[in-house]
């Protein structure tokens, strides 16, 4: 279980995250929603070692993650993908994934053998398969479609065998059809790999449809958490974020 307790982070006196406590049980699927600037990405950075919290604790299966290096947090099983796909533009999909597997298996400094090491291939194919990138292995990453770049970004995180996967707006910048395809893939991944999956999402239709549990952040605070029905009818959430249309839609 991933436990976040009393988390605080401020930038130049402005609180980006203040007193946030959330539990993510093993194997759960949670959506994080909230208006722009609510602190969602900061929250992810605090969990994944991109930022160090001012106060509070993040622990995974009982061990604290605060103050640990990125590599240690990755080894503990926390993986993440980014809002804007972070990929290796000049490398092919295959090279990127093989490079990631190689790094994960502590062979990044090897100079005596040739890239790619054959023992890295199985895992590369496995991950490419999971995200439907098998047909694209030979494509240079910069030439991939926007959606495929996001998939590659997730694939790079998956290579590291995470137990917890953080997805920062997996559907950002996609058209409606592409969004649903992406989210179906993510959902399938969660079921198949038994991951603890946490994702940030702006599309409420998607959130209410696939997330069994939703946490709402607003001005750095945890405004509410609960099932889609509870969130849809929560007066504070409606006032701060959803507006009335969703309330009506829920009725």
């Amino acid at each position: 279980m991933l436990e976040v307790k009393g988390l605080f982070k401020s930038f130049g006196g402005v609180a980006a995250i203040s007193d946030v406590t959330i539990d993510f049980p093993t194997g759960s699927l949670t959506a994080i929603i909230g208006p722009n600037g609510a602190g969602k990405s900061t929250f992810f950075n605090l969990i994944s070692g991109g930022l160090t919290p001012d106060a509070g604790s993040v622990s995974f299966n009982g061990t604290s993650l605060v103050g640990r290096s990125r590599a240690q947090i990755i080894d503990a099983g926390i993986g993440r993908a980014f809002q804007v796909a972070r990929i290796f533009p000049t490398l092919t999909v295959e090279e990127s994934l093989l490079g990631a597997v190689t790094a994960h298996r502590q062979r990044a400094q090897n100079i005596t053998r040739r890239f790619p090491l054959p023992e890295m291939r199985d895992r590369m194919h496995e991950v490419a398969e999971m995200l439907g990138l098998t047909e694209k292995l030979g494509v240079t990453s910069a030439n991939l479609s926007h959606g495929d770049q996001k998939l590659l970004d997730i694939a790079l995180a998956l290579v590291l065998d995470p137990k917890v996967l953080l997805l920062d707006e997996p559907t950002a910048g996609m058209g409606p059809d592409e969004r649903w395809r992406m989210i179906e893939r993510v959902h399938e991944l969660w079921e198949r790999e038994k991951l603890t999956l946490i994702f940030i999402e702006h599309d409420m239709d998607i959130v209410f449809k696939i997330a069994p549990k939703i946490s709402v952040l607003c001005y750095g605070r945890l405004l509410a958490e609960g099932t889609p029905d509870e969130i849809r009818t929560n007066p504070a959430v409606i006032e701060a974020y959803l507006g009335t249309s969703h309330e009506e839609a829920a009725v």
């Binding site: 590599a71 972070r86 092919t92 990631a100 005596t112 890239f115 030979g138 590291l160």
Partner: protein
Amino acid sequence: MLTARPNLARDILIAAVALALLLLLPYVWPNKMINDLVIRVSAFALFATSLNLLVGYTGMVSFGHGMFFGFGAYAFGLSMQRLGVSIPTAFLITVLSSALLGLVVGAISIRLKDIYFSFITLAFQMLLYSTVIAWVPLTGGDQGLMGGIPRPPFLGVDLSIEAHRYAFAVTVMVAGLLILRQIVESPFGYTLRMIRDNTERASFLGINVFRAKLTAFVIAGVFGAIGGMVMALFVSGAYPEFVNWTMSGEGIFMIMLGGLSTFIGPAAGALILSVLNDVITRGTEHHGLFLGAVILLFALGLRKGVTDFIADWLRLNREAGSRGGN
């Protein structure tokens, strides 16, 4: 689907053929000028290719790589003159001391990013240059290491004989390039490409970016120093201009002229720049002006090096060929 990659056997074969051709050249075309050119290009090819390990493969634009070339020349020359050791021992001293220099300068410089990294490497080079100029009793100051470098024979090789010197230079160059080739095609070589493409992502994959960059910096420094050593053997001395910033500038020019997206590009650039230097120096007094114009043509007009063009052309042809085949 899987892209064919150059394997070690193929690279060794290419290196062996290239070495055989270079060794045959003086017999086919006995010409002192050509011999001298090939020796100088051997030194510069190691220098430029090692610099490209940083610039092209890792995205670290060092403006101070000449410090290793000059350091190699002085370390080798001084070992031979002052310590009276054999050439292999002096070679070993040069390699180890330049690795140490790379470790110290790298550990400090790599903490800085982008242009600040470039500037601090330049600053370290100027520090070394000033030391060489000021420390007259050791280095001979602006006169350079005078009196010639002794070249005692070793293992049947006598570098005071011109033919041996030539064979030694091309052998060291080909062996050095083969090792660098292995490094850029190894898992580590791809780690460097990942760092170049997206440092942040590489670190989120658990790659120790600092360690990888430092390793690259030390390797590049050592091979830059070996280039300087070959040069010191050729001119039988070491001069402050080897360690001056203009040397680093020439390394960057070689990479630009030859192309940084192919492995052999910088070595080709070393050849092009050396030939240009020779031809232009003979033809005009204003050789800097003409050289500058040629480099501007490449930088502004073509925006690519020569081998980049050839590689692009080959790829387009291959793609056209495979489309035709379907």
